[in-house]
Amino acid sequence: MVPITHFLYLAFALFLIGAAGVLLRRNVLIVLMSVELMLNAANIALVAFSRQWGNADGQVLAMFTIAVAAAEAAVGLAIVVSIFRARTGTDIDDLSLLRD
């Protein structure tokens, strides 16, 4: 049996990659993908813990997360499309209309 720690290492690695991607990358599509990566990293952890504890709570939440992530991605993509429809690039630094 694969020990739970291995799943957790994978989950933490993905989570950190995702978080770093959101914070460091400038391309909005990659930022979106990084967010998805974070949610799915949490999903891996949830499912792993669910097996460890032998109850379904974690899997239930993972199921909901998949649906929520899809809805979130859809809304995110729609916002990205609406914002960059008139522009050529997808660089996050172009968004500088609102500031102090």
């Binding site: 694969v2 199921m63 649906a67 859809a74 993509l77 729609a78 499309v81 429809r85």
Partner: protein, 134 residues
């Protein structure tokens, strides 16, 4: 310990093998007619040479977004299907998994409510002409 990764290894071998088999079969069996257009990397699709920043029609995104949302909803049908027997029984199932007490519409109605909401969303999308490709 390492043996527990065996299924993953089998999976990888199968995936690679299947891909290789398919490519190999087309190479061996497929007819070969060459022409200028056929030799392009993507026979139908975007131009391989030129600016990478080609604008796609917004329609592509729209369909992709809709697909993303409606595709995922199926995720809720699987757990429901696997529990349908329990949900349709007023009491608990016996050891053999047979419902000895009365039947219940609960499981069905539950999913119908979910599907009605989903169909409502689909109707909304359809009425808003998001599915028209024109």
């Amino acid at each position: 310990m390492a043996a527990s990764y065996l299924p993953a290894l089998v999976f990888v071998i199968f995936a690679v093998g299947f891909g290789a088999l398919m490519l190999g079969l087309t190479m061996v069996l497929g007819p070969k007619r060459t022409s200028a257009i056929k030799d392009e990397p993507f026979e139908c699709g975007s131009e391989p040479i030129g600016s990478p920043r080609v604008k796609f029609s917004v329609k592509f995104y729209q369909v992709a977004i809709l697909f993303l949302v409606f595709d995922i909803e199926v995720a809720f049908l699987y757990p429901w299907a696997s529990l349908f027997r329990e949900l349709s029984c007023t009491g608990a199932l016996d050891a053999a998994g047979v419902c000895t007490s009365g039947a219940s519409l609960f499981g069905l109605v539950e999913m119908l409510v979910f599907l009605v909401v989903l169909v409502l969303a689909l109707a909304y999308v359809w009425r808003k002409r998001a599915l028209d490709w024109a």
